[in-house]
């Protein structure tokens, strides 16, 4: 598991108050029982933690998985370090 995926999982686990071991790379936020504003708060916590802005295109609450989210964060972090 990459560091980013570990950190994303920790944020989800903390926000949704679920055991981190239940969070798989293929889990969607919906599978994890995170809906509505809770899901939006998870995204916000990820943005704050990594200091990035996730475009709406990278946030799909129905079918987006933890893996997708991790990939989006890694892409934005790479962009950020390339820009700086």
């Amino acid at each position: 598991m990459s560091n980013v995926q570990q950190e994303v999982s920790e944020i989800i686990s903390k926000q949704a108050k679920i055991d981190i071991s239940t969070i798989k790379v293929e889990s969607t936020l919906k599978d994890l029982g995170i809906a509505s504003l809770d899901a939006i708060e998870v995204i916000f916590d990820i943005e704050e933690h990594f200091n990035i802005t996730l475009p709406n295109e990278d946030v799909n609450f129905e079918s987006g998985t933890v893996g997708d989210l991790t990939a989006a964060v890694e892409r934005l972090l790479a962009q950020k370090s390339a820009d700086s």
Binding site: S36, F44, N56
Partner: protein, 404 residues
């Protein structure tokens, strides 16, 4: 029970600065949605859009002496109220003044003023505030200003229930008239919240459409914020007839409910309860309704939930209803939504034209009603409902009947 009729109507929004221009735009299917102009939105994601009021010159409508006291929130309310009161042909003297209510729905407050003061405090580090900040910001300023401008001395207050504020206001006014507390009411809603702080907060909820508002359509991506006000004069049928007033429509019933569920996600059960309550209050059968002006925000959740609620209440008749959302034209004006949409409902009843649901591209299996896509339809409308379902699960529906 006292019957209540509507004898005056006024409005201002992205579609026009009076109710007839707004109605005309609705029948033509014009949209007021465009890239944001009111402020520099470069801190927002993408290129945000809104349904903003353009080319508005307040001094063309409002006394120079009164204007410094008014945030756009109250300016819009006053413009709409003046038009409605003029159309009704009423003056508020003596007993009429004391037996008239002013009830105004609004979801926020004087946001432009608030934003300006906070910018001064936090960005410019200046504590020298304009002394009229409070009287501009307070959410009750619009109803106060209407009462002051017209000398109305009866019950006057603001109703706040986010996106359902206008419809809750109609309900409060109707109940006061029925109870015999007043004979006349100036009622509606106002909103002016296209400001940096409020828009940034909306964007953070990830409910704003990046492109446009396309209710009930596949590919819909969220709501588009609008602004403006609409106001109406309500009075008893008896009173209107006695003075020979032109009756625009009858306000037949109101229904209210709370989901007691999620702070943001809508509930078909709560929405259906409010729709059913409005029909019950109006003494109407579902089959008497021809048109529903839907809440239809253009979010994935609202439109499918609202469709289910309509099915639950209307059964077989659901497929015979015309159900449209006019929000792709005037935007989601939050606390003014139900009032602006009442212009569409009254127009449909009076002129036999149902305004379309614009920007509709293709059916969504979860939204299977007749949404009158993209072009207005000529049809007889005997009675109509106007739905408003707010964040926090606050629902209010108004039933309106054609003037007989």
């Amino acid at each position: 029970m006292r019957r209540i009729v509507i004898t005056g109507m006024g409005g201002i929004c992205a579609l026009g600065h009076n109710a007839s221009d707004i109605w005309q735009a609705m029948t033509e299917g014009r949209s007021g949605i465009a890239p944001l102009q009111h402020f520099d939105s470069s801190l927002m994601r993408g290129s945000p859009v809104g349904a903003e009021i353009a080319d508005f010159e307040p001094l063309a409508f409002i006394d120079e002496a009164r204007l410094p006291f008014l945030d756009p929130l109250a300016q819009y309310a006053l413009v709409a109220a003046n038009e409605a009161i003029q159309q009704a042909g009423l003056e508020f003297r003596n007993e009429r003044a004391a037996r008239t209510a002013v009830v105004v729905g609004t979801g926020s407050a004087g946001e432009e003023t608030r934003d300006g003061l906070y910018r001064k405090l936090y960005a410019e580090k200046s504590g020298r505030f304009h002394p009229l900040g409070i009287v501009r910001i307070m959410s009750s300023a619009p109803c106060s200003q209407i009462s002051m401008a017209h000398g109305i001395t009866g019950p006057t207050f603001t109703v706040a229930s986010a996106c359902a504020s206008s419809n809750h206001a109609f309900a409060q006014a109707a109940m006061m008239i029925r109870a015999g507390l007043v004979d006349t009411a100036v009622v509606g809603g106002t909103e002016a919240c296209i400001t940096p702080g409020v828009m940034q907060a909306w964007e953070a909820m990830r409910v704003l459409a990046p492109d446009t508002c396309r209710p009930f359509s596949s590919g819909r991506r969220g709501l588009v914020i609008g602004e403006g006000a609409a106001m109406f004069v309500l009075e008893t049928l008896e009173g209107a007839q006695a003075r020979g007033a032109t009756i625009l429509a009858e306000l037949a019933g109101v229904g209210m409910s709370a989901d007691a569920g999620d702070i943001a996600a809508p509930s078909d059960v709560g929405a259906a309860a409010a729709i059913q309550a409005a029909l019950n209050d109006a003494g109407m059968q579902p089959a008497e309704i021809d048109y529903i002006n839907a809440h239809g925000t253009g979010t994935v959740a609202n439109d499918s939930t609202e469709t289910r609620a309509i099915h639950n209440v209307f059964g077989e008749h659901a497929h015979r209803l015309a159900v449209t959302s006019t929000k792709p034209m005037h935007g989601h004006a939050i606390g003014a939504a139900g009032a602006l949409e009442m212009i569409a409902v009254i127009g449909a009843l009076r002129h036999g034209i149902v305004p379309p649901t614009l920007n509709y591209v293709a059916p969504d299996p979860a939204c299977d009603l007749d949404y009158v896509p993209n072009e207005a339809r000529a049809m007889t409308v005997r009675a109509a409902l106007s739905n408003s379902f707010a964040f926090g699960g606050l629902n209010a529906v108004v039933a309106v009947r054609k003037a007989s």
